[in-house]
Amino acid sequence: MRLRYAARGAVWVAIYLLFILAPLFALLAGSLPAARDFWTEFAAAIGYAGLAMMGLQFGLTARFRYVTEPWGEDVVYHFHRQISLVAVGLVMAHMLILSATRPALIAPLNFIQAPWSAWFAVLSITAIIVLVVMALWRVTLNIGYETWHLTHILLAVIAITAGILHMVGSGFYLADPGKRALWIGLTIFWICLLLYVRIVKPLFMLRRPYRVTEVRLERGDSSTLVMQPDGHPGFRFSPGQFGWLTVFGTPFRITGHPFSFSSSAAAADGRVEMTIRKLGDFTSTISTIPVGQRVYLDGPYGAFTIDRNPADMHVLVAGGVGITPMMSILRTLADRGDRRPVTLLYGNKDWDSITFREELDALTARLRLTVVHVLSDQPSGWTGERGFITAEVLKRHVPPPFADHEYFICGPGVMMDAVETALGKLGVPLSKYHSERYSFA
């Protein structure tokens, strides 16, 4: 199964590169204007490639399940963030190299008399700079998530549209009608990817609503939303996967919220549950959602699942609300009658805030499950693990050879980094541990 996903991943990487490089080399086809010096041609090439990469960002965030499946949505978003810096670097280098090789372009007098294509270049670069600053320092700048998300999309559209207008206006390669049509067509394709995720996908979701049938208060300031498909069979998911939840308003709202499913994937009636901890504005409203409320779910997504990573023994490492995908895994294993050993290392602040504490205890009777609670703030008389989940804790509770098991890690970033480092020190290969990080912004 891993090989099949790896092969599919390789095909998508090749297609991604093809979408960047094929339109660039298509510029060399047919009749060509007289060549300029090396640096000018190089600058032109990275300008075209940078624009193509920026346009393809709409594809990376379009949530095409078939495309993102080999890696998981969180990793595709991580790639989206990192590759955007490369694309921006290429566009900035394009401008700087041309400014150096053709100083007349930036001379103040000429700049005022510059053609409209140069102004579109300025508009595109300005939009890119603002977009990057807002993306990198959103929290520092105290910009709300929804405001940022909407601005992010608008700036990206402005940057790309102005970029293509700059290219068309500059002429040279795009003076050829065929090449101009190719690049304008590409730009329309990129914008269509955006329209797909913002209009077409919500239209499908609108026809497949869910109803909240129960809101259950849980330990640890958390609530479980129980949702039933309304007029459709729902979808099937693998334990550990997640979905995007829209509660108030329609699926056309710019921002959905990603949460893991906490229910068993073996439920036959399409019912899904999400357990959400009060951590911010939206999550604080969960416990007040009335039964009967219509909600929309976009999913399932993610590669963080035991179904894709079979093993003789699973080791689950959870911190706080990171227990939710683990609960789905454990409930599903119990419903399937799976008798493989599972060890859950579960870090929490204190004994009373352990979400699903009683149910985990009950699950030990249905599974070959060992639960190890690690508390940073222990009650008196506590004889269990103290502090945080470290390499020593892992060594005490996971039987060797460590590299034979599959590890699933979900929790605060600091905990995940520490556990990944500890597993590395224990000689667990990278392919054997899987982390779920919800940082889509």
Binding site: L21, L24, F25, L28, E41, F42, H78
Partner: protein, 31 residues
């Protein structure tokens, strides 16, 4: 693990694109 793979993919993509841009420029200059 998957994020590390993504990081490497980003670096590889950057290198490939820059190399291809160099080849593009060389092809043009060489006529």
């Amino acid at each position: 693990m998957r994020r590390l793979f993504a990081d490497r993919l980003v670096s590889a993509t950057a290198v490939i694109v820059i190399l291809m841009a160099v080849i593009f420029a060389l092809l043009r200059v060489a006529g």
